[in-house]
Assembly symmetry: C2
Homo-oligomer: 353 residues x 2
DNA sequence: TTGCTACGATCCCCTTCAGGA
DNA sequence: ATCCTGAAGGGGATCGTAGCA
């Protein structure tokens, strides 16, 4: 590139940075005296760049504050290295904890995260969220809590989708499910109460649109069936302590109810509160087990017996599978290394005889 | 550019859809018998497209499953219509609730959300998160809980940044702060206890890296100063019930401690638990006030007196300001329509005389 | 190592065509 | 007729990067 003075172009190039407002790779290239392609090579760790050139490019980039334009990158490569997460917009412990894990797992694999929240009880909001994510051009989608009456999931053919929960309508979609069977954990809780000598166990379940609620209810039923107990009709809750409180009041006049398994810790707290407020004793008059082991559960009064959840395991394998499908790699055999665990505290005891 | 048959290129164009794997606007244009530019017009609601042509384009797009490529759009326009949120990866109620509000507010304004979590206590993680978001090409950044020892915020000059909390190091950065003064709310809690007749109020504070913790401590100090009370050294917590429990145990042997204001509800729960476990009564022997009014607080034993937070107000104005700056609009005067509110339940009472 | 080019959209500017002055 | 104005739509350059020769 021998440039003689005569040919210096008329095009007075301003230190161009529109419209992104940021320097481009070509600017870096000019400063470093190399081609734009070489700059690209350096930033993608491609071979055939001498250490010296690499160094020069990096210095020039540093000086200009250059960083690769992800939009341009996405345009040519067809991939964004971004995952979409369909999240139930809720400050509930479970979903929040899952989101934390998802973000971290994605980041560890070199992906960023776009969030699309759904609104509970709003029909079609899962589909809307998926549509929004597809428009943003994510490489894959995670369904963190696919709460919906009838998600159509029509749009899923475009990118891989992994769900962290079983769907009510799994009709022929190629959505992959990555989750453990929480029914086993619920059975654990139920058996704990039976082992203490309770005749049967009542259940405060969560909203039926949540797979987590359905799983837990199923586990409770199984445990009762296996031991030949009567299966009382479940009490309906909505995850909140208030709904647990309502359920707790509902059983106040029924002395045959001696043990309750609530589908999460907040509802268990509500059940307990209803008893204490009515002058009954927990666990003396009623044993209560929760689910999740929220960090505060150990400090409830009485400290709550519950099932410890480990969201991270499920979440990690889900993200790994999704990324594997995106990158067309073989899916690693799932290493379900972790098992739900019963944490016995002081809200359960043998029934009064 | 007259092309005679001889020059018709060898390039047999396949029904192209690489590398995005999705049909492009030009494909839609061909099917609809219009130019690519017209397709662009239709999808941007630009004028000068007849109703009939618009209809034809939309039908063709529908048929092909076309949706505009956001990467290409971002490349030419220089904006992504995405906001970056720096989030403390934590399932704590406050941050989770804020995130819910942020997503919704952004969506309402036509922006999507990219998430970058920070790791508590990891130096430079706020800067790393910001860097990651900038690399993704967000139009603006929200700092939801700027927890860091010394965030450098060097990179902020590139896009507008709005913080939901006061920063420890506000050194000359053009970060805008959008938040109410929570000190007033903390003062409210403190005065409630003083009004009940307590000599002074002890405080379990949160981590000093959190602005929320600093604000609340400041409000507590102010209330004590204004009424000429002694300001006891604060007890240090970390937001968890466990840390509140430790603080609660620490004051067990000190009968002069009759009232505690904890910086959040979980720590308050821990304080209460330590008392009850030791056979002391709440509020009989110790009054306790929390902060946040988490949904479960009403079902603690005893039901917790606390300050009701409304995250939505702050969050909405923050997002609105950020978007206004992005779009170079005048910033609307902030309408602080909401005031923190004391919720009196059963964990506070007059001291024993 | 380097150019050249494509990726898919936007932006600026152009042409065409009615209809009215 | 000439000129103009506004609607309707097209053409080409361009954004910043990665693939191919």
């Amino acid at each position: 590139m021998t440039s003689n003075a005569m040919l210096v172009p008329v095009t007075t190039v301003p230190p161009t940075l529109p419209p992104s407002g940021r320097p481009a790779g070509s600017t870096v290239a000019r400063l470093a005296g190399v081609s734009q392609k070489t700059v690209s090579r350096v930033f993608n760790d491609e071979p055939y760049v001498s250490a010296e050139v690499r160094e020069r490019v990096l210095r020039a980039a540093e000086q200009l504050g250059y960083r690769p334009n992800s939009a341009a990158r996405a345009l040519t490569s067809g991939r964004t290295r971004r995952l979409g997460v369909v999240w139930l917009g809720s400050a509930l412990y479970g979903p929040a904890q899952m989101l934390v894990g998802l973000e971290r797992a994605a980041r560890d694999l070199g992906y960023s995260v776009s969030l699309a929240a759904t609104t509970q009880g709003e029909t079609g909001s899962v589909d809307a969220a998926i549509g929004s994510l597809l428009s943003q051009g994510v490489d894959g989608i995670l369904l963190s809590e696919p709460v919906d009456d009838q998600p159509q999931l029509r749009l899923t053919s475009q990118v891989p989708v992994v769900s962290l929960g079983r769907l009510t309508t799994a009709s022929g979609t190629d959505v992959e499910i990555a989750t453990q069977d929480w029914a086993a954990a619920a059975a654990l809780a139920t058996r704990h109460l039976l082992d203490l000598g309770h005749r049967t166990v009542h259940h405060v379940r969560g909203p039926q649109t949540w797979w987590a609620a359905r799983d837990r209810e199923r586990g409770w039923r199984q445990a009762l069936h296996e031991t030949g107990r009567e299966v009382p009709p479940p009490l309906q809750g909505d995850w909140t302590a208030a709904s647990g409180y309502a359920a707790g009041r509902a059983v106040l006049g029924r002395p045959e109810v001696t043990a309750v398994f609530a589908a999460n810790d907040e509802m268990a707290l509500g059940v307990v509160r209803a008893q204490l407020e009515a002058g009954r004793d927990v666990p003396g008059d009623l044993s209560v087990v929760g689910f999740d082991d929220v960090p505060s559960a150990a400090f409830f009064t009485p400290p709550l017996t519950t099932i410890r959840q480990d969201f991270d395991t499920d979440v990690h394998t889900a993200v790994e599978r999704l990324v594997a499908r995106i990158e067309d790699r073989a899916v690693a055999a799932d290493a379900t290394g972790w098992h739900p665990e019963l944490v016995v505290r002081s809200s359960t005891a043998a029934p009064r005889t």
